[in-house]
Amino acid sequence: MEALFITPFVEIVDSPIFFMEVVINGMLTGILYSLVALGYVLIFKASGVFNFAQGAMVLFAPLTLVGLMETGVPFPIAFILTILVMIALAMLIEWSMLRRLVNQDGMILFMATIGLSFVLEGSSQIIWGSDVKKLDIGLPDSSFEIWGMLLNTLDLSAAAVAALLVGALALLFQYTATGRALRAVADDHQAALSIGIPLGKMWVIVWSVAGIIALVSGMVWGAKSGVQFSLTLIALKALPVLILGGFTSIPGAIIGGLIIGVGEKVAEIYWGPVFGGAIEGWFAYMLALVFLMFRPQGMFGDKIIERV
């Protein structure tokens, strides 16, 4: 009991600098979770599909990038080529899957994307092999000390990239005609079609954007820990972020990511020893679950209104 309720707090008060360091590092990881979660939110907002395959895309995109770079293509060209590949993939998904599932129940679409994630994981490993690949995109990787806290430049620049992307997306959604059309599609497929919004085109756009987000988040994670199969697990980490923040909210994804990132790090360092360690795997889920009991739509999700 003492280890659960007293010791951790004593430790926090004893060395606030170290606590701050843990919190900041948690936030930096949290932003990366937000980035992955954003991919989900975007597709959910725009097409009402909970895209389970986002995790597979976070693997597929950077694998394509690294694969291209290994054949000798310089980074900027490889980056553009990968974006084109992701757009082509979005078109393929729209043509082969989404247009055939218009107006289906959300749960059916969700299960279809589970199938899609298997296809993507399998094919990316057949095409590019299943070894761990190193990704060097020129982000500085060194540690420095500030006010007694140890921080990593790679984490900082990753967070900056993420923040930039998030800002751009928020603008796209709120202030452009495309953004408005996307929100209309999310509301009601049929109604959107009837006022002349080209559903197929919108889906291609949103899946392409999600593909690009997957590429960026995969690159950042890949630069940290190598491009490998376990990237798909990071997507699983992003799911609690999603339910914490609400499926439909971009700010929710960001704040949810920060909360999960910080909570996870703090719990692992201060409470981990009590539980015997490795609690990172489920802590986020439990946190989200408890939270959901009180607010079923997440922090910023649209209020669930039910009609018969």
Binding site: I114, L292, P296
Partner: protein, 335 residues
């Protein structure tokens, strides 16, 4: 009537003929696995197909059944193992209710993600706390030898025939029970909740009871399947055997077989069990060799593509196709 006759014939063959003609490979690699997965698929189908609550935590509930069996039978070796299996199913049902509680407040995708909490937390618990695996240094649980009326049914010495019959017996009894539940009042209330929970509430179905009952019954089946998974099929395992991939596998079974169909659970399980065997055995026969890791990825791709295909073309799965095929045959024979 026709259906009853068909089931009776299948049962007579399964109980009376198969144990004597099938060799060890068939029993161990295909039949027992198929029966265990069918039971698990029925369990998930009750929750997802009938009551409409998508769960990604099947593997964890199966693990609860397996570990509960292990704990009970090592603590009380004198209890008949068949009873222990049932008790373990009961434990799994309890855990299922616990993790089903959020379903009262949250639904749909939120719930699907919430069931992942069960998946990760339960496996972590079984991995970390030595009490669950009796502090064995390898961290695995293995089936101790137990007999029923003098016949060994678990443990390394038990014959595949005995293990096959145990699983078949459980499956037969519980599949029939499931069939009756889903056709009765309870099944109807599950389907009402699935189709529109608010409307169901208005016609007098209590969501609390109905949903929790679905979680309990489903987890009971999954727990029983998990217990048999270790004790009648694998012999020993660690938590990794129950990871999220197993949950997906069971989910795929009910999608391919047919959501909301007991027959579909069998067909789906058969498909998922047989397909990898087909993929490893057929290409060499026609002179093509595929390296193992490649064939694993190909398997992944084909499974994924099939899921999408079935959801687009026939969301009711192979079970519906089978029904239509039967209907056609009947028309042909009596024009």
């Amino acid at each position: 009537m026709r259906n009853h006759r068909f089931i009776a014939v299948v049962l007579i063959i399964a109980f009376g003929v198969v144990p004597f003609v099938a060799n060890e490979y068939w029993l161990q690699a295909i039949l027992i696995q198929f029966l265990v997965f069918s039971l698990a698929a029925i369990g998930l189908n009750i929750l997802t197909g009938y009551a409409g609550q998508v769960s990604l935590g099947t593997g964890a509930f199966m693990a609860v059944g397996a570990y509960a069996t292990f704990k009970i039978t090592t603590a009380f070796p004198e209890i008949n193992i068949l009873i222990v299996f049932i008790l373990a199913g009961g434990v799994a049902a309890g855990v299922g209710i616990l993790f089903g509680l959020p379903s009262l407040r949250i639904k749909g995708f939120y719930l699907a993600v919430a069931t992942l909490a069960a998946q990760f937390f339960i496996l972590w618990l079984f991995n970390k706390v030595g009490w669950f695996y009796n502090d064995s240094p390898s961290g695995t649980i293995s089936a101790p030898p137990r007999d029923v009326f003098g016949f060994l049914v678990t443990g390394p010495e038990a014959t595949p025939q005995a293990r096959y019959l145990v699983v078949l017996g459980f499956l037969t009894v519980f599949a029939l029970i499931a069939k009756n539940i889903v056709q009765g009042r309870i099944g109807r209330s599950w389907m009402a909740i699935r189709d529109m929970d608010i409307a169901a509430e208005i016609i007098g179905i209590e969501p609390l009871k109905t949903k929790l009952l679905a979680f309990a019954v489903s987890s009971f089946y999954c727990g029983l399947a998990g217990a048999l998974f270790i004790f009648a099929w694998l012999g020993s395992a660690e938590t990794e055997a129950f990871d999220i991939f197993l949950s997906f596998q069971i989910l795929f079974m009910i999608i391919i077989g047919g959501l909301g169909s007991i027959t579909g659970s069998f067909i789906g399980a058969a498909f998922i069990v047989l397909f990898p065997i087909f993929l490893t055995n057929v290409p060499p026969m026609i002179g093509v060799t595929i390296p193992t890791d490649l064939s694993k990825h190909i398997e992944e791709i084909i499974f994924g593509a099939l899921i999408v295909f079935f959801l687009i073309v026939e969301p009711h799965g192979l079970a519906r196709l089978w029904q239509m095929f039967k209907a056609k045959l009947r028309k042909r024979s009596f024009p």
